[in-house]
Amino acid sequence: MREVRLSRRQLLHASTTLAGAFAAGKLTRPARAQAGAVAAEPITPALIEAAKKEGKLAFYTAMDLAFAQRLAKTFEEKFPGIGVRVERSGAERIFTRIGQEYGSNIHAVDVVNTADQAHCLVWKRNGWLAPYMPEEVAKHFEPEYYDPDALHITTRILISPIAYNTNLVKAEEVPKSFAGLLDPKWAGKLVKAHPAYSGTIMNATLQTARELGWEYFEKLAKQRVLQVQSATDTPKKIALGERAVMVDGAGYLVIRYKEEGQPVEIVYPDEGTPLATSPSAIFKAAPNPNAARLFQNWMHSREPQQILVDWARQYSPHRLVVEKPGVRKLSEIKLMHEDPEAVEKTGEEIKARYAQIFKV
């Protein structure tokens, strides 16, 4: 009898605390905008205080690990007291993971950065994202780089070019186009990443298949391509000298390695370079909503975007950011056209067809 009475009191206590926390959470959330446009919000001391009270943040990201950790460390130094937990994986894997977590009612993720716009389309449709418009984004980003309902913002722009090892490929033999890679002399010398893991490669596969047809991939499969998972693996493999040419992969890593002195060089293919814009979003059910908003706001401000360009060597949508000399500006590259709706609709089919052609 005594046990029953105690447990009921404990239950009451717990539910009251829970309700109180829920109410407190609702009160500290920044003011909602009117219907239609979402008001642009700067980083206010109130937001910083509320974020510090939460004290932590879960960031699921498709950024390469070095940059993600650098970003997290810079954030922790700027706003001490907020610990950032970085979970890095390929964009498609992150999408699967979030889907599984939400399917089991686990709301662990606060901010997500994915290399596949199609994911944001799905999350938007499921109603999982929270609208939030940082002031700097409203001021300095082109409208094409954020969602009209402020549910997601493009954080970085990725390209997936061809690249080669300068020690293994003579200057006159350098491949200039995707079609050029089908030449028998490249058999056994190519390395490629997988669209089931990487969002960049998923976009690249859709765009290449659209421009060159699936027969291109069928012919490419006969070249005994080394199949790796991540778009960050292919630059590593050519820098190591394991293969001579990468068919697709993270262009920014090639630029980074080249500037470090490794023997790699980038090639912008004649047919166009595949493009993937990488959006970030905050989840409605985020356990640390204020820290999430602070991080999202800070990540799109001038300083981290400049780190993105200077250190990570990626392209930024922020208008005030200064591009380093020696790298082709985004406007000077012939880009393929991005199509997130098509990726969302045909993503499963692309993965299945790819697995059938390349056997893995």
């Binding site: 894997r93 699967t96 293969r243 499963e348 390349f358």
Partner: protein, 290 residues
């Protein structure tokens, strides 16, 4: 004269017999840990997306080459690995436990080091050593023989490479089982055999091996199961080589949108193989355990 002993005052024992509740507790824990996941697996393999009963998952498993190839590869992989492990670890165990070979302790220590190395890490290490173009061993080979850039001695991105790497990190299981078993077996029978005039090989063949057979079989089965269920090494070496094993195939089925029914059906052969092997061991050994 009779002395009457004082009547023994037996205090009433109110000790509760704890053996039954503990047994039930353990049984419950085992049920939750083992029966629950397995029955979930069987359930998922027999239903389709909507929850209706279907045998289609198993039909796909045995007809679609996308699944049959990895299954065949896994069986070949596990069998070869098990045979290689036994072939290497058994003589090594005998040498270390039964002879006066020098450096016995060093060999034991090195094998233990291999035991504690995660196979995943080992696969990466061998990738650095034996990748066809950038691997150190191949670079040395090219430097020594002057072979052109395209030639290589070892290609770790192949089924043979995968079998080698898996065996290299699974043989410690067999070694430890055999070395410990041989340590425990007293040497009297072998001494008797030597006294009666048998040569070393005859003794080994007719006395030591039958005595060590339970350990050898147990080791072979452990090596088979370990090779069959490894994920890290195949993920690193098989996928770049262009083939799947059953474990990497099951993993790939969880790409969005996940297909847990097919994944569950794909796990059932692994389960059946395990049960079959354990029954086979029981049949061969009977109740002999030594």
């Amino acid at each position: 004269m009779t002395i009457a002993l004082p009547a023994e005052r037996t205090a009433p024992t109110y000790k509760i017999d704890l053996s039954w509740p503990i047994l039930i507790l353990f049984a419950a824990v085992l049920c939750v840990l083992i029966l629950l996941p397995m029955s979930w697996l069987i359930y998922y393999s027999l239903v389709d997306r909507s929850g209706a009963f279907t045998l289609d998952n198993f039909k796909t498993l045995v007809t679609d080459p996308v699944f049959v190839d990895p299954l065949t590869t896994t069986v070949i992989l596990a069998t070869s690995s098990s045979v290689i492990c036994c072939a290497f670890a058994a003589p090594m165990g005998w040498l270390v436990a039964r002879t006066d070979m020098p450096l016995r302790r060093t060999v034991r220590a090195l094998v233990t080091a291999s035991f504690v190395t995660p196979p995943f890490l080992g696969a990466i290490a061998w990738e650095l050593l034996a990748a066809p173009n950038s691997g150190l061993l191949n670079k040395v080979y090219r430097a020594v023989t002057g072979a052109p850039q395209d030639e290589h001695l070892f290609n770790i991105y192949s089924l043979a490479g995968l079998i080698f790497v898996i065996s290299a990190y699974t043989f410690p299981y067999v070694f430890v089982l055999i070395a410990n078993a041989l340590d425990r077996i007293p040497g009297d029978l072998e001494d008797a055999s030597a006294i009666l005039g048998a040569r070393t090989w005859t003794t080994a063949r007719r006395i030591t091996i039958p005595l060590a057979l339970p350990a050898l079989l147990a080791g072979a089965i452990v090596a088979f199961l370990q090779a069959m269920t490894l994920f890290g090494s195949p993920a690193i070496l098989a996928i770049p080589a262009g083939f799947h094993t059953m474990t990497t195939k099951i993993w790939s089925l969880f790409n969005y949108p996940p297909k847990p029914e097919l994944a569950a059906a794909a796990s059932v052969p692994l389960l059946v193989l395990t049960v079959f092997l354990l029954r086979a061991e029981h049949f061969i050994l009977g109740r002999r355990g030594y």
